[in-house]
């Protein structure tokens, strides 16, 4: 199918982009890489009056590193971040999760911020941001605000973004010394939407475990190292608590089973990478 007619707006600066969003509000959709949005427009799952294409806003195409995090601009593609030479040292979990995001061909255009703004419950990047406790930077003509990942993603394809706001960047905390991380995913075909994905971070006294694809948003649990002997019970309780949903790809029960089976390997991977 083809998209229905829409007004196409291509700003060159953030100021122009937020002015356009302030004018069109909920009638506009922001497009960065378009790798999900154009597919949804083709299928007419999304209907909008205007597209604001931010892919040529040069001030959004930078990755900057501070003492505490890397900040990824909204026009940075997934492959551009993946090919950053120091990524595996800076944010090791990102280097592990990014190869699972879509395919080589879609990562060439798909953006990091776009994936997080889309808030698909089975996406790898929102899961990574949630586990690491990252932040999302939003800007509108009214000002700039920064939200924690947990406050940004509200549910299935739903975020705290107001309809005149632009996600200008996301911030991934730098990996700390001695930490280890792990990532596991099950999909029908590598690069397809994950049925279930898990990420883990081993810290000195605890393990953080994040589960995607089961609830309506990534779920993060912290498990004290002292409780690792009871891991099976803890994961059983977590899977039951998340519940899961049934779709054409998998039953809710299968999703819960994957959580039970993958939790230990992903935690073991994180522990083996930690000092």
């Amino acid at each position: 199918m083809k998209p229905r007619p829409f007004t196409y707006i291509r700003p060159e600066t953030v100021a122009e982009a937020i002015a356009a969003l302030s004018e069109w509000k909920e009638a506009a959709r922001v497009m960065a890489g378009g790798q999900t949005l154009i597919a949804m427009l083709n299928l007419r799952l999304v209907d909008c009056e205007a597209i604001v294409d931010i892919s040529r806003v040069s001030e959004l195409s930078a990755v900057t590193r501070t003492r505490t995090h890397i900040e990824v601009g909204a026009a940075v593609t997934q492959n551009a971040l993946l090919s950053r030479p120091d990524l595996a040292q800076e944010v090791p979990l990102l280097a592990k999760a990014l190869p699972w995001v879509g395919h080589f061909q879609t990562r060439n255009k798909g953006t990091v911020c776009g994936s997080i703004a889309h808030a698909d419950p089975s996406s790898e990047l929102p899961l990574t941001l949630a586990l690491l406790g990252g932040e999302v930077v939003l800007r509108s003509t009214r000002g700039t605000r920064t939200l924690k990942a947990a406050d940004f993603q509200r549910g299935l394809l739903s975020t705290a973004r107001e309809n005149d706001e632009l996600v200008v960047a996301v911030r991934f905390p730098l990996g700390a010394k001695g930490e280890g991380t792990g990532f596991r995913e099950v999909a029908r075909r590598h690069g397809d939407f994950a049925i279930v994905s898990l990420a883990a971070r081993a810290r000195a006294d605890a393990i953080d475990l994040a589960v995607g694809g089961v609830a309506d948003r990534p779920a993060v649990r912290t498990i004290a190292r002292a409780d690792l002997s009871r891991l099976d019970d803890i994961v059983d309780a977590l899977a039951a608590d998340l519940g899961g949903f049934e779709d054409i790809h998998a039953t809710a029960r299968y999703r819960r089973d994957l959580v039970r089976r993958l939790a230990r390997p992903v935690i073991d991977e994180a522990l083996s990478c930690s000092a």
């Binding site: 007619p5 829409f6 291509r10 154009i38 597209i51 080589f104 061909q105």
Partner: protein, 171 residues
Amino acid sequence: MFRVGSGERTLVQFELDGRPVSGHVEPRMLLSDFLRQVAGATGTHVGCEHGVCGCCTVLLDGAASRSCLTLAVQAHGRSVGTVEGLAPGDGALNTLQAAFRKHHALQCGFCTPGILMSFTDFLARNPAPTEDQVRDTLSGHICRCTGYAPIVAAVMEAARTLRGDATETAA
């Protein structure tokens, strides 16, 4: 700020396989449709139209991209490479195409234009790939004829040929 109203047409110009093309199109026209219907370049095939099958993959400024997930207006001022620009001349095949022919890496050929463009980008970035890396990149395509094994063999051989025999012996 560049703006085209709903239902209005705008001039789109870009370089297609080294030659300039142009057309007046609505913003909603996909690059895949522009290539086939406006430029008449039917070498690029359209399968699923939502980015899953990979048939319509082209090079956008050298990077393998789905032309069905790209608006024609987004290609304005850029360079687009398709399967029609691969062969060095009439009746000749480039190294990757020749390897596909030798290994029977295609049967019906519907998916082939996209696969060739993906591996044109892939081999330029990664001249000495492992089979696993080739399979990973191939996962962005669906082929219903070959069972994929001949495609992997063809890409591995093309990589060896492009590197030259000396590298092949060393590997």
